[in-house]
């Protein structure tokens, strides 16, 4: 038996082009005759457009055209997550503002010129007269009487109210009969996704053929073709969306934005290739933000530590317009995760979706689940303190016991598989928890403040059954498809509809095919990111590419394997059931020397001179896959921090992550996903936060002002894993793209609060910057009489 390629940490196959500068991102594309598009954006968060004077801009060198919203003939941008059982209102979202602007960065005009410099110069020369209106940026304040109103058809700025409940009566009773109730007001601050590659679009219109091609920084080219067709009116079969190299997304390249559609529209007006690329400042103003909740949450328990109920009211900021999946994130992806890894019998989440004069909010890595996990884990720590229990023991008492094939939680989901305590125990062993607590106590006597945070989590990903998508109002399906095509000489191209952009599926999916069929990895190419070359798929987000597209690929490979087995039986003159397979060779049981290689079989199937009766020629199979359930990865994370009370500086000393995403195709790539996720989650806990002033100006509008995590903020993380296969995935695999982000924010937050116990600090709004930590210590000490 050869080395199994599944589970091997081989080097990535996408890397050679990326480390040599040969990779082509959208902004790298060039075509003869191309022109450049720049946007004129509102400097005001809320204003009426009184007049736009484009004459000076039009007279400038190199300027080809200037358009205002009245001239643009695109259809409005759709909101595509129409959550049911709510009173959702979807206010119109024009591609270019015509009467009113609703956030800083809302486009009011567009300028096309021969060079980018000329386009930017002319954009500055467009004179726009505004009547400035009062703005509102806080989602809770926006619902109050007298708050500025963004949309005439959205009274009190409330786009929807949505409730998920295991049964209101039971929830009420749990809180009424609880021995202890702990409460918290949590500000889930706004985050800016900051994919390193800004958004870009490059459009080419072929007037004679009436064909539109758009190179597009997208996580989901097929969705973007579908929606762009609706917005531009170009039918789908004449519209090609290509995601070339895409430099990260983290959710920010899922939505449909005006800019890409406008780039396409201008190409159609001028019949010339048009390029638009946002600056980083535009990215921070216009590309979606994440989180932005104000939450009132509480947890009920008995004196023995049995949690009997959890509930919350969430004001979710949605921005000036509803982004593509905006309403679904703080509801379906949030409220339905209030059980976490625990056996909570009573659960209720009420979400109020609120329009504010800010950048639209949509899915950012984890999307709804980090917010849910944070509030659960925060409340668990608070409850442990109230009960005078160790936070680990409280968690252990309430963890869902191990299950291999389905566990129903009170809110209505069925988790696929889990063994939460095993992951927790492993993490505790790595860190030697008891010794660490002793070390903490000892350090305190010496005036050093060490904190320990422990989180156990379960999350929902691998989105998801299409029937569920429909039931929860998602305006699309969530299946994937794959085609595996083998050339006569035995080289493999596998086409997938999903669209990886850094996650490494060109490598891991080749490993899957190699493992199933025996072709060497170097003979397999994964083709993705072009709607004309790939079958339909709904894209790469929600940690779904390997759970869903990977499943389609495995099943397609298994179909090919059965065909190869039948062909081998024919060639070896044996019965199909007598054919064994190993390492790319098919042979009659017991006679491994008399074998046909997969390549030999492929050639004979392709020339088709002598096929078994009823067999079609060729070696190609396609497979659609609609998953029967979501997948639910889980794990336990532990952070050790030290806080300097003199400066408020938090130093992360150790970070342990034990995650379970089922069998790992490539453990090196899995670890990379976890590392990156942890840093983004800790970014929220310690560094990041989008800040608006009361006028709706984004104060953190550049990388100078928005604190991104840097290399010297972290130690090396200590990773381990357990393996609990998903019962329904054909290879048992769960997703892992978001686990780090989901688990690390509360883990580090709880560690900091734990460190500050001697000062009596119980709550600090994130991010836990030195000034906030220092301030909290001062206030708490003075409240206690200054000890």
């Amino acid at each position: 038996m050869g080395t199994r390629i599944f589970g091997s940490g081989i080097r990535r196959r996408e890397d050679p082009r990326l480390i040599t500068g040969q990779a082509k991102y959208t902004d790298d594309m060039v075509l003869p005759g191309m022109v450049h598009l720049a946007m004129v954006r509102s400097p005001h968060a809320h204003a009426r457009i009184v007049n736009i004077d484009t004459s000076a801009a039009e007279a400038m060198d190199g300027v080809i055209a200037v358009y205002t919203g009245e001239q643009v003939t695109l259809n409005p941008l759709p909101c595509a997550w129409l959550i049911p059982d709510s009173d959702l209102i979807t206010p119109e979202h024009p591609a270019v503002a015509v009467e009113k602007v609703r956030y800083v960065g809302d486009a009011v005009a567009l300028v096309v010129a021969e060079t980018r410099y000329q386009a930017e110069d002319a954009a500055d020369a467009v004179r726009v007269e505004y009547e400035v209106l009062p703005a509102v940026v806080n989602p809770e304040a926006a619902t109050r009487a007298g708050a500025p109103q963004l949309h005439d058809d959205v009274p009190n700025n409330i786009a929807f109210r949505w409730v998920a409940s295991s049964g209101d009566e039971g929830v009420e009773q749990a809180f009424a009969e609880a021995d202890v109730v702990v409460k918290e007001r949590i500000v889930q601050q706004r985050l800016i996704p900051t994919a390193m590659e800004p958004r870009s679009a490059f459009a080419q219109w072929n007037d004679a053929a009436e064909e539109l091609t758009v190179w597009y920084t997208t996580q989901n080219p097929h969705i973007h073709r579908f929606v762009l067709s609706g917005v531009t009116g170009v039918p789908e079969h004449k519209l090609r969306v290509i995601a070339p190299e895409v430099g990260g997304g983290f959710g920010s390249k899922i939505p449909v934005y005006a800019d890409e559609a406008l780039t396409a529209w201008v190409a159609m007006q001028l019949n010339r290739p048009v390029k638009w690329t946002e600056t980083r400042s535009e990215n921070y103003q216009v590309t979606i933000h994440g989180r932005d909740h104000i939450e009132y949450v509480e947890l009920a328990a008995k004196n023995d530590g049995t949690v009997t109920g959890i509930r919350g009211t969430v004001y979710a900021g949605l921005g000036g317009y509803l982004s593509t999946a905006g309403p679904g994130v703080p509801t379906i992806l949030h409220g339905l995760m209030y059980s976490g890894a625990y056996t909570f019998p009573n659960i209720r989440c009420e979400t109020i979706g609120v329009m504010t004069n800010t950048t639209p909010v949509d899915a950012y890595r984890g999307a709804g689940r980090p917010e849910a996990t944070f509030l659960i884990e925060r409340l668990m720590d608070k409850m442990a303190k109230a009960l005078n229990m160790d936070p680990v023991e409280l968690r252990r008492k309430n963890l869902i016991p191990p299950f291999e094939n389905g566990h129903d939680v009170a809110i209505g989901l069925t988790y696929d598989s889990g063994n939460y305590e095993a992951a927790l125990n492993k993490a505790l062993e790595i860190v030697d928890y008891d010794a660490l607590r002793r070390e903490q106590a000892e350090a305190r006597t010496k005036g050093r403040y060490i904190g320990i945070g422990v989180s156990t989590y379960s999350e929902i990903c691998g989105l998801g059954p299409s029937q569920v998508a429909g039931a929860v109002g998602f305006q699309g399906g969530l299946w994937e498809s794959a085609i595996i095509r083998v050339s006569p000489a035995g080289k493999v191209q596998a086409m997938i509809g999903a669209s990886p952009h850094g996650q490494g599926e060109e490598t891991t999916f080749a490993q899957l095919i190699s493992d199933e069929l025996g072709f060497p990895v170097e003979d397999i190419e994964i083709v993705h990111g072009d709607t004309n070359q790939t079958p339909m798929g709904w894209g790469t987000y929600g940690s779904r590419t390997t759970p869903v597209a990977g499943a389609a690929l495995v099943l397609a490979a298994r179909k090919l394997k059965e065909k190869a087995r039948a062909m081998a039986a024919h060639l070896l003159e044996a019965a199909v059931e007598d054919i064994d397979y190993e390492d790319g060779k098919f042979f009659v049981k017991g006679s491994p020397d008399n074998a046909k290689t997969i390549q030999e079989i492929t050639l004979m199937a392709t020339v088709a001179w002598d096929l078994p009766e009823g067999m079609d020629p060729g070696m190609e199979e396609s497979q659609f896959y609609d998953p029967p359930n979501f997948v639910y990865p889980f794990g336990a994370h532990i952070a050790v921090v030290e806080v300097d009370p003199e400066t408020g500086i938090v130093k992360l000393k150790r970070y342990i992550a034990v995650d379970d995403c089922g069998p790992q195709i490539n453990p090196v790539i899995v670890a990379g996903q976890v590392h990156g996720g942890i840093v983004q989650g800790i970014g929220q806990a310690l560094f990041e936060g989008a800040v608006y002033d009361d006028n709706g100006q984004l104060l953190t509008g550049t990388m100078m002002d928005y604190t991104l995590p840097r290399a010297d903020d972290f130690p090396n993380f200590e990773l381990d894993h357990t393996v609990t296969p998903s019962p329904h995935h054909p290879a048992g695999i769960k997703g892992v793209g978001e686990t780090g982000t989901i688990a690390s924010t509360p883990t580090v937050y709880n560690a900091v609060i734990d460190a500050l116990q001697p000062f009596g600090v119980e709550q600090i709004d994130m991010p836990l910057t030195p000034s906030r930590v220092w301030q909290a210590i001062q206030e708490s000490s003075s409240n206690r009489g200054g000890d």
């Binding site: 080097r11 990535r12 996408e14 890397d15 050679p16 082009r17 990326l18 480390i19 040599t20 500068g21 040969q22 990779a23 082509k24 991102y25 902004d27 790298d28 060039v30 980018r116 410099y117 900051t194 994919a195 390193m196 590659e197 800004p198 190299e245 895409v246 430099g247 990260g248 983290f250 600056t279 980083r280 400042s281 952009h501 850094g502 996650q503 490494g504 090196v668 790539i669 670890a671 990379g672 590392h675 990156g676 996720g677 942890i678 840093v679 983004q680 550049t702 990388m703 100078m704 991104l708 840097r710 290399a711 010297d712 972290f714 090396n716 993380f717 780090g740």
Partner: protein, 154 residues
């Protein structure tokens, strides 16, 4: 203005606008698109190149300031088909995911090793403070640079 700039061993003479940034000269005038742009305030480091052997964020420099200088970009780092040890180390150690920050990371870290051929992990992390990565969490980038320093005789 006329400039003459040597990039990856080739002399390029062009008549350009005085305000043109070096990164735009490299990308737009010469079509060397391996050097990426990730911000507009010189924080991210995606556009890092070498000028006369020192690392430089090419968005902080006007093309006219590079007149008469020698520039190396990511396209010029390998020796023909032989990858530079730093490129090899990033590949070996999964030091990249989406790859957008990678050219800048590789250019910044190769210049760093010239100044400090035997860096500690802490020194590597400190040296990377001008280069952002949003995918890797930096851990494997640090590992890559450490591996390259050892391979290069560090």
């Amino acid at each position: 203005m006329n400039v003459s700039i040597t990039i990856n061993g080739t002399v390029y003479e062009r008549d350009i606008e005085p305000r043109m940034l070096l990164v735009h000269f490299i990308r737009e005038e010469l079509g060397l698109t391996g050097t990426n742009i990730g911000c507009d305030t010189s924080q991210c480091g995606a556009c890092t190149i070498h000028m006369d052997g020192r690392s430089l964020k090419s968005c902080t420099c006007l093309a006219v300031q590079a007149d008469g200088r020698e520039i190396t970009t990511i396209e010029g780092l390998a020796d023909g088909d032989n990858l530079h040890p730093m490129q090899e180390a990033f590949w070996d150690n999964h030091g990249l995911q989406c790859g957008y920050c990678t050219p800048g990371m590789i250019m910044a870290s190769t210049a760093f090793l010239k100044d400090n051929p035997h860096p500690t992990e802490e020194e590597i992390r400190h040296a990377l403070e001008g280069n952002f990565c949003r995918c890797t969490g930096y851990q494997n980038i640090v590992k890559s640079i450490k591996a390259a320093s050892e391979k290069m005789g560090g």
